[in-house]
Symmetry: C2
DNA sequence: ACCGTTGTTTAAGTCGAATTATACAAGATG
DNA sequence: CATCTTGTATAATTCGACTTAAACAACGGT
């Protein structure tokens, strides 16, 4: 029950400590989501006292928002928000590989916490809009367009996460294969009865 | 701030009340998961007092387990657990349509609550096993087999959920289209570099 | 009419997690 | 050295949510 005998007490300049806490909190929250993760878990993950968290963030929900903002920002900077072309999928894979925990956090957990849905709304709306534009060319309006519009982003994200879980083999090939799967969703939705 | 003036107090035989609470709890928990949903939410959804919940279930976690068991049982009875053939997809769609909230609860929320992972483990293990069997015929072992094995069940479930969200159009066509998408995942994984 | 069952209402007890307060230790730096 | 900053340790406080207790109301069958 003894703590490590002589821990030198890691001191960091304020900004770096803040960044380190954000990374640790991302990992911690990515495991079980907001409500199920205590500040104790976050503090332990950061190797730091609970009290110190309050020297950097006003509250648990403040900290969580900062984590989500960081993940959003990194993703947006990498992928961009306006267009969708041949480079988008490879870029998305690179971004996911650069920040796997943030990626999982955003798309597996944050989407559900009702209190923070607004943070995700931008991403979700953007991808849905882009998807609609792509679909409109080939899929007539109606329930099957709805089906495809809902499924394409989810399938893309799940394919990326599965790729992360599988060890991130061969990014270029991954992009091409995910494209094929997405294409088959559109194909399936556009095929007449 | 007055409650509805003359509520007749709905009385039900014990078994029916229990069933009704289970239905209501399924809806409530399906919205935000276990930890984020309070017994107050469940009681409100059931149109019943919080205290009454304890006359039917020993605790919140007991209630949740009962909800998960019910959803699992209904699904297993409908789909079966041992084989996978041409009838599985249509059957899965029928089962999902018969219990949409239970379906969403099992596959969107319960998979993450660490305390209840064991309930899902059977389903997850079964579907993964079946998926592996299908994949082994065409996809060589390695990271891409892993990728496909992880992706196929998720894509199937997400496709079903998207179909629920889109208004459950034309179940037979839906089964055929989901089959195409799943096939394209296997195709993508098995294609050589 | 009696009594068990199904409910409600209200209040109290319990418990864990968030938050705040205080005192102390030690590196950095002018 | 004096002092500011970073950090710890410990404890108190708050607060919400689960849980239990107690007393009362009405329906329904025998």
């Amino acid at each position: 029950m003894t703590t490590d005998p002589a821990r030198p007490v890691r001191r960091l300049p304020r900004a770096e400590r803040r960044a380190q806490i954000l990374e640790a909190a991302t990992r911690a929250f990515a495991r079980a989501g907001y409500t199920a993760t205590g500040l104790g878990d976050v503090a332990a993950e950061a190797g730091v006292t609970q009290v110190l968290l309050y020297r950097h963030f006003a509250s648990k929900s403040d900290l969580y928002r900062a984590v989500l903002d960081r993940a959003c920002t990194r993703l947006a900077e990498a992928v961009g928000t306006d267009h969708f072309d041949d480079t988008s999928l490879p870029t998305l894979l690179r971004a996911a590989a650069a920040d796997p925990e943030g990626f999982r956090l955003l798309f597996r957990h944050a989407a559900k916490e009702p209190e923070f849905r607004d943070v995700i709304e931008g991403l979700r709306a953007g991808s849905t809009e882009v998807t609609r534009r792509h679909l409109a060319e080939r899929v007539p309006g109606g329930p099957w367009q709805d089906w495809a519009a809902r499924l394409v982003p989810v399938v893309t994200l799940e394919a990326v996460i599965a790729w992360l879980d599988a060890g991130q083999p061969d990014p270029d090939r991954a992009a091409e294969r995910i494209r094929q799967v997405v294409h088959s969703v559109i194909e399936a939705a556009s095929r007449p009865g």
